[in-house]
């Protein structure tokens, strides 16, 4: 074990459905990964156990390390599960009269969100989930604001008071108010909010009130309503979970303030007002981590690929920044939250493999074995072949060292199932059938990756591919072969990469607001200045919210670095682009000129210079404000070059390995024992407890000073 001269500074947590990963980084860049079974009843306990597991590698105790930590970021699926299981608060909803059924009906696309294409086009499978708020706890009030924001029918105030009484009577634990077009004109909704609060005080009922304008003032009514309801429904219970986690940390001497990974790619405090945006966080961590690694390596363009048991997630970083999607869907709900843009395909290392009984073609997924691995694990209770079974049979995975030997895999059992289900019906040997499955998966993934890059108008040769996730390194060669990336990088901590990435994220709040501005190409200076004023007002409104959040955590307004941004499009076009503003304040026609230039440059880069259409005029569709404060981030290890020859103690022997219709002896290496500069030529398999890195014949890899493996095809 290494000495203890270096403090442990950063901790990342990825509390998944099955496993809770923790990731600790010391000041010298050394890191450890810990794993423990998740505990939905008390997440804090799983985090504690996982920490104990991780710190054991350094012979250190939790009580001794927690007080040293400077920063800690949590990401998890608890909030998402709470929504999926419909275990949130009993929320009451006030909306416009005549629109009481809207939330229950939902958007039609919510009936097939998350489905594979085959099911999406198969109408019988479409299904509406139970609404978060039943009609019985929904009240309509007479009011109408038109699309231009003009109040056409004033709010009937007595109806709001009546609705409040009825909702309290019906047992509401929170009240959400969402009126049509309130993002255009907030007056009616704010008035309704004040009336509800006054009535609650009069009734001596202490329940929270959520008006959509205070939280997510964005266009798209279903999105705004869903998101505000989500906040009321799931955020408060999640806050309790996070408080429990924070309390346990404090009990063990922690001095840091727990932060949570949020959908926009920053981290926010567990005390934040808006917690709905923590609904999805795990996969985002990987993108943030890739961005940081890219900065270390000097790579501006990165294809992030994360392969887990059930899905393959791809995100692109271009010119050092990732894209944000502003109306994503999660938990089968359309939402208005900024989310780091990612594309997923439902094929992963644990996908089930079946033969179509009619066409005899191999079908992967869409369901998967998940934590049950496959038929190779006798205790799994599974009898359908999974991709992992094929890997075990072909020698990719070590049956005695799966998850560090935590479970033993039965190769013969997997062989028998592959033979009966795949090989025999196809008239193939077990090896060829299994190899066919792997090839099909690799092809699916590499086509998906390639399509994702070229569909956005980029060339893979300009990109470095980062491959991570528990199963990533097994497949890296397969899905990158022939794509033509500039470089392919596999971090030694691939399995804990999401947790690492969370720890890399800034302490950053981001607020969005819809605005509607249209300015012609040759508008007068007065018109341009007026547009700037509107944008500036929106930024100032958002700045107040951002600073308020930091004040909760004890920061001074002057500690906060504010970064304004906007969404812009050519007038009449459908897609906007998100731009970091070149000006910190917008006031004059000259400011406006800079604002549109910045947009036009980005447009030219994303699409093509020749596609620019300034003659259409410019629309600003949204104002964005990000605010951040300085935090401690993980540092990467810097090892001395130990030369190309791996040390003897890293060599573990050989294992038969099947690829391209023949068995070869692959050299086995222990990942932890390899040193910076070591060069390994395939066929080789590099193993660690949490992951297996496959380097087949025709490939070679070098480990660099940051413990990143670079995979190359041998020409």
């Amino acid at each position: 074990m290494q000495s203890q001269q270096s403090n442990v500074q950063v901790m990342g947590i990825d509390a998944g459905g099955t496993m809770t990963d923790t990731f600790f980084v010391r000041a010298d860049g050394r890191f450890v990964v810990g794993k423990a079974q998740s505990n939905p009843g008390d997440e804090s306990l799983a985090i504690y156990n996982s920490s104990v597991d991780a710190l054991a590698h350094w012979d250190r105790e939790v009580d001794d390390v927690y007080p040293e930590l400077v920063t800690c970021v949590y990401s998890g699926t608890a909030m998402l599960n709470r929504i999926l299981m419909r275990k949130g608060l009993d929320v009451g909803l006030i909306c416009n009269r005549g629109f009481e059924q809207i939330h229950s009906m939902g958007r039609a696309l919510q009936s097939y969100l998350g489905y594979a294409l085959e099911d999406r086009i198969h109408l019988n499978t479409h299904r509406y989930d139970e609404p978060l708020v039943p009609v019985s706890r929904t009240r309509g009030v007479t009011e109408r604001t038109d699309v231009q924001g003009k109040i056409v029918i004033p709010l009937r105030e007595h109806e709001v008071i009546q609705a409040t009484r009825e909702l309290v009577e019906a047992g509401s634990q929170a009240i959400v108010i969402c009126l049509l077009q309130s993002h255009k004109n907030e007056l009616s909704e704010q008035r309704a909010r004040d009336l509800v609060k006054a009535e609650l005080t009069r009734l001596k009922v202490d329940i929270p009130v959520f008006a959509s304008v205070d939280y997510y003032p964005s266009r798209k009514e279903s999105h705004r309503m869903n998101t505000t309801i989500l906040e009321a429904y799931g955020a408060e219970p999640s806050r309790q979970t996070l408080k429990k986690v924070s309390d346990r940390f404090k009990k063990h001497g922690a001095k840091f303030d727990l932060r949570v990974m949020a959908t926009h790619g920053g981290t926010i405090s567990w005390k934040a007002k808006e917690l709905a945006r923590t609904i999805v966080s795990g996969p985002i961590g990987g993108v943030i981590g890739s961005k940081l690694l890219g900065e270390y390596l000097g790579d501006e363009n990165i294809a992030c690929s994360d392969i887990g048991g059930t899905s393959f997630d791809v995100a692109l970083i271009t010119k050092g920044s990732f894209a944000i999607k502003s109306d994503p869907d999660m938990a089968r709900l359309v939402l208005s939250l900024p989310l780091v843009a990612m594309d997923s395909v439902g094929a992963g290392a644990g996908s089930f493999v079946r033969l179509d009984p009619y066409s005899k073609s191999i079908k992967l997924g869409p369901d998967s074995a998940g934590y049950r691995v496959g038929t190779c694990w006798p205790e799994s209770g599974l009898d359908t072949v999974s991709v992992s079974d094929c890997h075990v049979v072909l020698g990719y995975l070590n049956p005695n060292n799966f998850l560090g030997g935590a479970i033993k895999l039965d190769v013969q059992r997997a062989r028998d199932h592959i033979k009966a289900q795949i090989a025999d019906p196809l008239g193939l040997s077990v090896e060829d059938a299994a190899a066919g499955v792997i090839e099909l998966l690799d092809l699916t993934l590499s086509e998906y990756l390639r399509a994702n890059i070229s569909a956005k108008g980029y060339n893979p040769a300009e990109f470095t591919c980062f491959s991570y996730g528990g199963a990533g390194p097994v497949h890296t060669y397969g899905y990158t072969e022939g794509v033509g990336f500039k470089d392919v990088v596999v971090p030694a901590w691939a399995a804990g990469f999401s947790a690492f990435g969370c720890a890399c994220a800034d302490f950053e709040y981001r607020y969005d607001k819809s605005v509607d501005l249209g300015v012609a190409q040759f508008a007068s200076d007065e018109q341009k200045a007026a547009a700037c004023t509107t944008l500036q007002e929106a930024w100032e409104e958002l700045a107040t919210k951002v600073i308020d959040e930091f004040v909760i955590n004890g920061y001074q307004p002057e500690d906060v670095l504010l970064i304004p941004g906007y969404k812009m499009q050519y007038m009449g076009q459908l897609n906007d682009l998100e731009i970091v503003s070149p000006v910190t304040r917008a006031a004059t026609a000259a400011d406006w000129q800079q604002i549109i230039e910045s947009f036009e440059n980005t447009y030219g880069r994303v699409y093509a210079n020749s596609a620019r259409s300034p003659e259409l005029g410019f629309s600003v569709t949204g104002a964005i404000l990000r605010g951040m404060v300085v935090t401690q981030k993980p540092v990467l290890p810097e090892d001395a070059d130990a030369g190309p020859t791996p040390p003897k103690e890293a060599y573990l022997g050989t294992r038969p390995f099947y690829r391209h219709k023949k068995w070869v002896e692959a050299a086995l290496w222990k990942m932890e024992s390899l040193k910076a500069g070591n060069h390994i030529v395939g066929p080789a398999i590099i193993e660690s407890d949490a992951t297996t890195f496959v380097v087949p014949d025709g490939f070679e890899t070098t480990i660099d000073k940051h413990r990143l493996f670079h995979l190359k095809e041998v020409k």
Binding site: A116, E118, H122, T125, R127, R354, D356, P366, D367
Partner: protein, 167 residues
């Protein structure tokens, strides 16, 4: 993919959990489903005759236990006719051909004009189960819904021996 008899019985009852239902819908049909499905139906009816093919939610083509003739039969045991005949001609029929009768099932002005379209409802004469509704033009003959080729279905589709039949 295969399912237990219990799951198929839940499917028949409409009480199968959504996850399993979804898997059934999105995966290719399992080989033994027809046999299991018919067995689940058979367990629900009180008569001894063997169900050959379900025709409607409460109606089957059965093989008469006594004569081996194939008959169309209701849940309740009421026998309509031979399986080749149109059972509707043996049912109790109610025709909604006045505005008054239409407003019993639809709000006023939201039902068809009975000069153009009528509803013909076919009931079991014994238990009163509504087996089918037609919505034709008033003069249209009684529709014979379908005449299944049971022999081909058993032999070529589900690969089962065809039940014995005496005509």
């Amino acid at each position: 993919m295969s399912y237990t008899n219990e799951q198929v019985a839940h499917l028949v009852e409409g009480s199968l959990d959504w996850e399993t239902t979804f898997r059934m819908l999105s995966m290719p049909k399992d080989n033994s489903r027809f046999e299991q499905y018919v067995a689940a139906l058979q367990a629900k009816v009180s008569f001894k005759d063997r169900i050959v093919l379900p025709l409607a939610p409460h109606m089957y083509i059965v093989q008469s236990a006594k004569t081996k003739q194939w008959l169309i039969k209701c849940d309740c045991g009421h026998e309509f006719c031979d399986y080749k005949e149109n059972w509707k001609l043996h049912a109790a029929i109610y025709v909604r051909d006045t505005e008054e009768a239409m407003t019993e099932v639809y709000p006023k002005l939201m039902a068809p004009d009975t000069q153009w379209q009528v509803y013909r409802e076919y009931y079991c004469p014994t238990c009163g189960t509504l087996h089918d509704v037609e919505a034709p033009t008033p003069w249209y003959p009684v529709i014979h819904d379908f005449e299944p080729d049971i022999e081909a279905f058993y032999k070529e589709w589900v690969h089962l021996p065809v039940p014995e039949r005496v005509d």
